[in-house]
Symmetry: C2
Subunit: 203 residues, 2 copies
DNA sequence: GGGGTATTTCATCAATCGGTGAAATCGACG
DNA sequence: CGTCGATTTCACCGATTGATGAAATACCCC
């Protein structure tokens, strides 16, 4: 019976064809993205990532170096940063509604995993990823210079950012109702007046 | 010299008088509060708490049960919840400015450690403290029923809560400038118009 | 002054973590 | 067919973690 010894999978390279070249690497990336988004950096273990990718834990360190390297490879910050910058350049009818739609409909849906991983990590273990704080500051500063005029532009831009971060937390990270299940249209309509007040500045 | 063997502290009860009865317990609570606020639940180790309290790690499990029990004993939620409720009952001249001052000047200064510990834990490891989500929902619902009228009251209340959470993240958890160093007066003045828009509801 | 109780430390455990080194297998190339 | 490089797994290490059980000490009450 030798029931104590599970068949001991073959050791060498991927035995069959269905898993194409480099597929394991992509699968590791996908698993890491999902888990980092769901639990943050520290709470996610390399063994968990490997299990979800159907791969030996050692393969992670073979493709990517350390766990922090894998994290940086997982969240694609340059792409998102460039996207936000380009969107702010283009003029839009209503700045408040446009900004709300950009975050709620695009960034928080298509790239929700990256944002979740970033914020969960920045909040739970800031010393692990020190560059996250600087990156947040830069993003808010971009909004400030391109969209705001008047006094306290940086502070008002960060209040706009705070609104977005809070929505990300309640709607996507913690899952508080009813905001977690509200349609994007209703959410945009509800937040537009507040954003407008911050964009226009105090009376 | 016997430098290899540190004197091996006496084992029994606190030998001297200066440390009064139950003082160790209070010291553990204070150390836990600071560390949970700074790093969240998972990233804080019981040994770290014990070291900061100047106490053997085993003493933690003697006074409080498990690490999760210590966390629940650390954040004093009933007191804060009651305080917010009482404050919402009392009428104030400007509801928006009053709400801003309540959070920025009182809750986020006197009880900043409790809020930081709660949010860091809720965001980084939600499954560790499942009751945190329900508690957030209840708090927002209280604001909704006592302060708001019109349509989508729950959603608007949660947008107000999102604003507060974002400020907590940027100003106190991550430390983004300039909002981290802004005076409470300037901050309240900058956020009041946005809160007013959410309290009054859409046009 | 003696027994009981609360407090405190020591020693230790089982589990888990990130990471390393070597072996094994496969595919490509000559 | 032989060789080389890429891929994958195994076995393992040192460190750290939360938690437990027992021993030791001090205080309190009678």
């Amino acid at each position: 019976m030798k029931s104590t010894t599970p068949p001991a999978a073959p050791r060498g390279r991927g035995p069959r064809g269905p898993r194409a070249e480099g597929d394991s690497r992509a699968e590791i990336l996908a698993a890491a993205r999902t888990l980092f988004a769901a639990k943050g950096f520290r709470a996610t273990t390399t063994r968990e990532i490997a299990a979800r990718a159907g791969v030996d834990p050692a393969l992670i360190h073979h493709f990517f170096g350390t766990k922090a390297d894998l994290f940086e490879a997982t969240v694609q910050l340059p792409r998102i940063a460039g996207e936000v910058g380009a969107r702010l350049e283009a003029p839009s009818g209503d700045a408040a509604e446009g900004l709300a739609r950009l975050y709620v409909e695009e960034l928080f849906t298509r790239d929700v995993e990256t944002f979740a991983a970033m914020l969960r990590t920045a909040v739970s273990s800031p010393e692990d990823m020190p560059w996250l704080r600087q990156m947040m500051e830069d993003t808010m500063l971009a909004v400030a210079t391109r969209l705001l005029r008047g006094e306290h532009v940086a502070l008002r831009a960060e209040l706009i950012g705070a609104q977005m971060i809070g929505i990300l937390v309640l709607r996507h990270l913690v899952g508080v109702e009813p905001i977690a299940s509200t349609s994007t249209d209703d959410l945009v309509a509800a937040m537009a007046p507040a954003l407008r007040a911050l964009i226009d500045g105090a009376a």
